[in-house]
C-alpha cells in the first residue's frame, strides 16, 4: 500500500492568548495516518496548549483545524473524540481502586439491561472479554485482568490508559508525556506499543522530555519555541544536538 502523503489532520495558523501571554503564534501542525510525530520544546514553548486545542479542551483564538481537508470546530474533548482524536494524559489516567476492565470501560460500560442509565446492570462478562481481546490486539500483557489499577506497575498502568483510549479505534492518538513517570524498562513497553499503533495506521502525537525516546519512536519531529514552530524535520535529518539547539534558541 502506498503511504497516504496527505495529512489526516491539519492545524493552520493557530494563535492562542492567555490574558496578555501570546502562547501560540501562528503554528502550523499536521499528522498523517500511521505517522508518529514527536512534539518537543522547552517548558512554556506551547506544546501542551497546542495539543489541548487539538484534543478540544479549548478552542484556538485564531486559525483553523482541518480533518481530511474539511474544517472542524471542537467545542469539547467529546467533539474531538467523535472525530477520532483521543488523548492519553500523564496524570488522572486511571481509577486505582477499580480493576483493568472497569477502567477501560469507565464512562461507557456495556449494560445487560438499562442502557445508559445509572441503574443499568453492568455486563461484566463482556467487559472482561473485550478488554482481553483489546489488550491482545495491542500485544500488551497485563497478566491478571482482575488486578486493581493501583496494583499494576507504572508501565502497565500507562498501557491500560492507552488501551482505553484505543477502544474507540481513533484515527489519532495524542500522548502527553506518557513515559514521564516510568522506569526505563517500563517506558520501553510504552514505546513498543506506539510502534505497534503505527502498523495499525493510527497517527500519533508523542510528547516527551526525553529526546532519546522521541528520536527512537518518531517519524517526524516538530520543535516549538516560545509559541512558534522553529523546526519540522523527518527524524533522519535531525540530530539530538540540533534539536536541543532549536529548542533553547540562540545559535
Amino acid at each position: 500500500m502506498a503511504p497516504d502523503v496527505r495529512p489526516w489532520v491539519k492545524m493552520r495558523g493557530i494563535h492562542k492568548w492567555f490574558g496578555g501571554v501570546h502562547a501560540l503564534r501562528g503554528v502550523d501542525f499536521s499528522v498523517r495516518r500511521g505517522e508518529v510525530v514527536g512534539l518537543i520544546g522547552d517548558n512554556g514553548a506551547g506544546k501542551s496548549t497546542l495539543i489541548k486545542i487539538l484534543s478540544g479542551v479549548f478552542p484556538p483564538d485564531k486559525g483553523e483545524i482541518l480533518i481530511e481537508g474539511r474544517r472542524v470546530r471542537f467545542r469539547s474533548p467529546k467533539d474531538a473524540k467523535e472525530h477520532g482524536i483521543e488523548t492519553v494524559y500523564q496524570e488522572l489516567a486511571l481509577v486505582d481502586n477499580l480493576d483493568v476492565p472497569a477502567n477501560i470501560f469507565l464512562g461507557r460500560e456495556p449494560a445487560l439491561v438499562g442502557g445508559g442509565s445509572l441503574l443499568a446492570l453492568l455486563h461484566k462478562g463482556r467487559m472482561v472479554r473485550e478488554a482481553r481481546a483489546l489488550l491482545a490486539r495491542l500485544k500488551v500483557n497485563i497478566g491478571d485482568l482482575g488486578a486493581l489499577a493501583g496494583e499494576l506497575s507504572g508501565g502497565q498502568r500507562q498501557t491500560v490508559a492507552i488501551a482505553r483510549a484505543l477502544y474507540t479505534e481513533p484515527k489519532l492518538l495524542i500522548m502527553d508525556e506518557p513515559t514521564a513517570a516510568l522506569a526505563v524498562q517500563e517506558a520501553r513497553k510504552v514505546l513498543d506499543l506506539v510502534r505497534n499503533l503505527k502498523e495499525r495506521d493510527i497517527g500519533v502525537v508523542f510528547i516527551s522530555h526525553t529526546l532519546q525516546e522521541v528520536f527512537a519512536v518518531a517519524d517526524r519531529i516538530v520543535i516549538l519555541r516560545k509559541g512558534e514552530k522553529v523546526g519540522d524535520f523527518p527524524v533522519e535529518e535531525l540530530t539530538v544536538d540540533d534539536a536541543v539547539k532549536l529548542m533553547v534558541g540562540g545559535d
Partner: protein
Amino acid sequence: MDFRAWLRRVNRNRVLFPIAALALLVVVASSLSPHFLTPMNIKNVLSQVSIIAILAAGEACVILTGGIDLSVGAVLAIGGSITAVLMKWAGVAIPWAILGGLTAGALAGALNGLMVAWVRIPSFIATLAMMAVARGGTLVLTNGRPVSGFLKSFRALAGYAGPLPILFLVTFGVYVLWQVSLSHTRFGRYVYAVGGNETGARFVGVNVRRVKLLVFTLAGLCAALGGIMLDARLNAAYPTAGEGYELDAIAAAVLGGVSLSGGVGSLVGTFFGALVMTVLGNILNLLKVGAFYQYIAKGLILAVAAVSLSRGVRFAK
C-alpha cells in the same frame, strides 16, 4: 493464584476484619455473660442493629464516594417525627404518613447533595449545617415534646415474622438490594470511581455531581426510614431521637472496612461493622456498664479502628 493472592482478592473490600471482630466479640460475650446467647437477647440485638445498620448503609455509601454525612441522626429524627405527626395529629393513613417521612428524609439528603456537588461546600460542613437545621426543624414541629401512642397496625412493624424481628428483615432487604446495586450497576461502579479518583472519573465522562446527589439522597432516605422504624419500636417519636447516631453509623462503616478516603469498602462489611457496634453495646449492658462509660468505649473503639484500618489503606488520596 496462590492462597495469599486469593485472600487478598477476597479481602479487597476488607470484609474479613469485621467478621473476625464479630466472631471474637461473640466468643468473649458468651463466656462473660450467660444471658448473651439466649434467644431473647439475640432478638433484642437484631432489633437494635436494624436501625443503626440502616443509617450505616447510607453513611457507608457517602463515605465510599469520599464524603461524610453528619446529619443522619438529625434526619432520622425529622423523618420519624414527620411520620408521627402526620399519623397522630393530622390523621393521615399509615402508608401516606410513612411516605411523608421518607420524602422529608430524601429531600434533606438531596439538599446535602446539592450543597456538596453544586455549591461545593465540603460535605463535613454542609451536613453539619443540615444536622442543626433538621434537629431544629424537628423541635419546632413537635414543640419539643414526644409524639406517642401509635396504632397497633403501625407498631406491628416492630413485631416478629417467625423468630425474626420485622425491622431486621427490612434492614436486611435494604442491604441485599444495595450491595447488589453497588456490585452490579453503573451507579455502584461510579460510586467507587468517584471515591477512588474523582477527577479521573469526571474526565472520562462520569457525571460526578449526579452520583453525589444520589448518594446523599439515599443516605437521607435511609435515615428517615431508620426514624420510622424507631417510632414503631419505641411507640413514640422523640425530638431528641438519633442524637449521636452519626457516630454509630460512621463507626459501623469504618469498622466494616470502609475507607474514610473513599473508594474502598462494602455494605457487607458495614453490616458486620454495625453488628460489632451493637453487640458491643449489648455486652456492656449485660455487664451493667453505665451508659456514660459506653460512650467513652464506643469513641475509643472508633479511634482504634480508624487508626488500625487506615494503615491498610493502599489508595490514600
